[in-house]
């Protein structure tokens, strides 16, 4: 077959260009560390990589939420521990007030001590987190939840909401409890609810009243102790719930970490270049390019005009 001079040049240059293009592509892969220089290199993997990146980012969000949850629940746990101790102390005082040997002024002294504890309880119930938001106000976190409207009467100004946070793809957990559940809705003997403040106040008033007949005092003390027991039960139940939530948060943290690792591995498989393969491709293509260039020079140098 006849070969024209143009064909010699076209084929030679064409070969060199092909080798250069392949070499450049491999070089880009190696320098960026990415297997896909553009999505066209592997469209399905490119789309999947975007989806997996989103899942990874959402997982990180859950982690941040979990830290916040653990923090909030820890704070609530600490407050409730103090409240538990307080109730137990008050109960002890109530028991000792039943001692027949005490006189009015002794009981008045106890009452004064209890007044102090009353204020302490009010303070605990109005605790804030680090950002100035009240822990036991439900959704009304910038409103003071417990307000003493008249001496001995405490009104709950918060609501009964519980804030939830997303800690997993389909799992939400409550990060607090409303003041109503913790301090106001305490079942008393007749089935209705009585707040802890009212119980405490009744006890104080009973101790401050000069004892007319000891039966009245005993009755009040018994009622107070029954309510205090109920309040203690309530707080302990709440603490158990908080503890369970904290355990769940811990467990979720572990699950999320494992999941994040999976996502990262998948992402790496999709996106990262295999350096071994790429570098050996690189040296092979370099050799190919050199061979194309050298052979072109040799062939192009042959012409009959040299011999005329």
């Amino acid at each position: 077959m006849r070969i024209s001079t143009n064909t010699f040049y076209d084929l030679g240059i064409g070969g060199i260009q092909q080798q250069s293009t392949a070499l450049l592509k491999t070089q880009q892969q190696v320098s960026t560390g990415r297997r896909m220089v553009t999505p066209a290199d592997d469209p399905v993997a490119a789309a999947r990589a975007l989806d997996v990146s989103q899942s990874l980012a959402i997982g990180q969000q859950f982690d941040a939420n979990l830290d916040s949850v653990t923090g909030s629940l820890g704070m609530e746990e600490a407050i409730l521990t103090s409240v538990t101790t307080l109730i137990q102390d008050v109960r002890t005082t109530a028991v000792s007030a039943g001692n027949a040997a005490l006189n009015n002024s002794d009981r008045a002294t106890l009452a004064t001590e209890l007044r102090g504890r009353y204020q302490e309880l009010l303070g605990l119930a109005n605790s804030t987190d680090g950002n100035g938001q009240y822990l036991f106000a439900g959704y009304r976190s910038t409103t003071v939840p417990f307000v003493e409207t008249a001496p001995g009467t405490v009104e709950y100004r918060g609501d009964q909401g519980q804030r939830l946070m997303q800690i997993g793809p389909s799992r939400q957990v409550a990060v607090g409890d409303s003041g109503a559940e913790a301090f106001m809705r305490i079942k008393s003997a007749d089935g209705t609810s009585q707040s802890l403040f009212t119980t405490l106040n009744n006890l104080i008033v009973a101790l401050e009243t000069p004892a007319g007949g000891s039966t009245q005092l005993t009755g009040s003390l018994n009622a107070a102790m029954a309510n205090l027991d109920s309040a203690l039960d309530n707080v302990l139940t709440l603490r158990a719930s908080v503890g369970a939530r904290m355990r769940e948060a811990e467990a979720m943290k572990g699950t999320n970490e494992a999941l994040a690792l999976q996502y990262q591995q998948t992402l790496s498989q999709l996106q990262d270049v295999d350096y071994n393969k790429a570098i050996s491709d690189l040296s092979r293509q370099e050799m190919g390019l050199e061979a194309a260039q050298k052979s072109y020079l040799q062939v192009a140098g042959l012409t009959l005009f040299d011999y005329l």
């Binding site: 469209p43 959402i58 909401g161 109503a180 012409t303």
Partner: protein, 634 residues
């Protein structure tokens, strides 16, 4: 005697000279594009009859023939025009492919940032800094959509510009070809083929083929007639017709290729124009660019509408119901030229039903019908087209006003400008509706063990609540009497843990209520720590809200990336394959028509020797004559 030998010698000399000149011409034009090598054809002169036989009278050159095969040249043209189309398509689609997955300009990082902001508000709804950061993320998302749309628009403008310049180039070639046709017809009148002019004309046809596929028909007088598209004549004899880039019939923003005939521009059906640069640009625009921009628009519109719908169900820091968070772009409606006064106004009904097609709405005198642009597939519409009962199809809501006339038509582009007109409508952080609009209370005076759960809302029609709603349990009927509800609500029967629904509110009461226990639903005043709506908004990120419930926002965008990526790869592979086909056909054509310098060198030697031999012959003829002359002497 000597006379005829001299004549033979001279004829040989002339032939050798012609051969040398032709070889020289071949050598100097070895790399001229479109050159076909030329050869002289020589034949013997008429012999002279003598008693001793027929004496040959030498040689004459018949013609200079070019080594041309129409079949081989045509093969190269066909391959080249397809290759030019694929190259043009690839150059355009590559730009698109690079934008979409770029970490700096792609959509995914901005989408993720935005939803991180929503999650931050869900974590701490009362905090102004986290609300501010959500607004910042929303602005960044808007900016990203706008930047992407601008790139799409730039590419679209680039296609228009290249279309116009390609049309200009085609017209210039057509003019030149007409001129050449004329010259060739004149030159051929002399009886010999004007090889170099023919080469020039063939080269022009080859260059024209790179712009658009042409069909060539050779006429009897030697001129070429060229046809494009579905048979429109571009060059006939020495007359050239022209193409023009004119606004499309249904969309004035778009340039289409038109045919100029008798002074008017007739827009050609664009899918009949294939091959070459022009074919590549047109195919890219209709197959890839339009649907890619529409897909991006659909993501923007879907995100805006679904986010707004949920945002409106929430309550902001000021105690007001949430308004629109994003602005939802309205579909573009372009009335046809020559419409009567009828107007069509189109809004987005249900974003999850939107497709990525454009539509033609047409009136035939009796009924309105809807067709998909491009394929012409009919789409069923429900409704009557009035404001009370709009036409409804594929997520669109169409209202026609004024009286239409037969032949009225509208082009509807539902999602084309979806990304461009995507915007944030809130600038005050307090207006982010993170809270739910209602709260529930289990009365402290209750004696039963039942508790009411946090309520949710599915419609904002009866909100905010004008007054508190109280549910009182009646153990005789196992029902709740509902008081304070506007509109009023009949008693609801109770079953532990089931959902009670009224006036757009859903709530769950579980446990055992005692007779007379009360549960109150009231407006969520001062509920600044409530994040219920923010949680639902954050959850939108992973819900399948688009494309009939099959894709999330990121999912729909990933589909776009993958589709464009696939098409790019397809075009790239096609272009490479076509390139090697072009190389092969060119090689075959060159093996016949190309100049081989070594061969020409050998030819030079050959003709040179023939010239020298012919010169020797003349010398001998001269000696013979001198001999004759000297016979007379002495």
């Amino acid at each position: 005697m000597g006379n005829s030998i001299l004549g033979v010698g001279v004829s040989a000399l002339n032939a050798a000279q012609a051969g040398l000149a032709t070889s020289g011409h071949n050598i100097s034009n070895a790399s001229t594009p479109g050159y076909h090598r030329q050869q002289i054809t020589q034949s013997t002169n008429v012999p002279q009859f003598t008693g001793a036989g027929y004496i040959g009278q030498g040689v004459h050159v018949d013609t200079v023939k070019r080594a041309y095969s129409q079949f081989l040249d045509n093969q190269v043209l066909q391959a080249q025009t397809q290759s030019s189309q694929l190259d043009a398509y690839y150059a355009q689609i590559q730009q698109l492919d690079n934008i979409l997955a770029d970490a700096n300009i792609g959509l995914s990082p901005a989408l993720q940032e935005f939803f991180s902001g929503v999650n931050d508000v869900a974590a701490d709804p009362a905090s102004t800094p986290s609300r501010q950061s959500l607004l910042g993320g929303a602005e960044a998302l808007v900016a990203r959509f706008h930047a992407l749309d601008r790139r799409f628009q730039d590419i679209r403008d680039g296609v228009n510009a290249q279309l116009a310049s390609s049309v200009g180039v085609i017209n210039a070639y057509a003019q030149q070809l007409a001129g050449l046709n004329n010259k060739i017809a004149l030159a051929q009148g002399n009886g010999q083929p004007p090889n170099d002019l023919l080469d020039q004309r063939d080269q022009l046809v080859a260059e024209l083929n790179r712009e658009i596929r042409v069909t060539t028909v050779k006429q009897d007088d030697g001129s070429y007639s060229l046809f494009i598209g579905s048979g429109q004549a571009l060059v006939v004899g020495d007359r050239a017709l022209a193409l023009a880039a004119a606004p499309a019939l249904d969309d004035p923003q778009r340039l289409d290729v038109a045919y100029v005939t008798e002074g008017t521009q007739m827009v050609l059906p664009q899918d009949s124009l294939t091959g070459g640069n022009l074919g590549g640009l047109l195919a890219f625009r209709s197959e890839t660019l339009d649907s890619a921009q529409n897909t991006l628009g659909r993501v923007a519109i879907g995100l805006a509408q679904t986010f707004n719908d949920q945002h409106r169900l929430g309550m902001d820091l000021n105690g007001n119901m949430g308004g629109d968070f994003f602005s939802v772009a309205n579909p573009t409606v372009i009335p046809g030229k020559g419409n009567s006064g009828a107007t069509a106004s189109v809004t987005i009904g249900d974003a999850s039903q939107l497709t990525i097609a454009d539509y033609h709405l047409q009136y035939d005198g009796v009924n309105w019908s809807l067709f998909k642009a491009g394929t012409g597939e009919p789409v069923a519409m429900s409704g009557a087209g009035t404001a009370a009962s709009p036409f409804s199809a594929d997520g669109l809501s169409i209202v026609i006003t004024n009286t239409p006339a037969a032949g009225d038509s509208f082009l509807i582009q539902p999602t084309r400008n979806g990304a461009r007109n995507f915007d944030v409508r809130i600038s005050d952080p307090a207006r982010i509706a993170a809270a739910a609009p209602i709260r529930t209370t289990t009365s402290l005076g209750n004696t039963g063990s039942a508790r009411i759960g946090a309520a949710s809302v599915e419609s904002a029609a009866n909100l905010p609540l004008p007054n508190d709603i109280t549910l009182t349990y009646d153990s005789a009927t196992n029902q709740f009497d509902v008081s304070g509800a506007v509109p009023a609500v009949a008693p609801l029967s109770y079953s532990d843990g089931s959902t009670l629904r009224f006036n757009g509110i859903n709530l769950v009461i579980s446990g055992t209520p005692a007779n007379g226990d009360q549960f109150v639903v009231s407006t969520n005043s001062d509920g600044v720590g409530d994040n219920r709506n923010a949680l639902i908004l954050a959850g939108l990120q992973t819900r399948n809200t688009l494309a009939g419930g099959t894709a999330s926002y990121q999912g729909a965008y990933s589909q776009l990336v993958s589709e464009v990526g696939n098409k790019t790869r397809e075009v790239e592979t096609g272009a490479k394959a076509q390139e090697s086909l072009v190389a092969q056909t060119r090689q075959t054509q060159q093996s016949l028509s190309g100049v081989n310098l070594d061969e020409e060198a050998a030819n030079l030697l050959r003709y040179q020797q023939a010239y020298q031999a012919a010169g020797k012959l003349i010398q001998v003829a001269d000696r013979l004559f001198n001999t004759l002359l000297s016979l007379g002497n002495g």
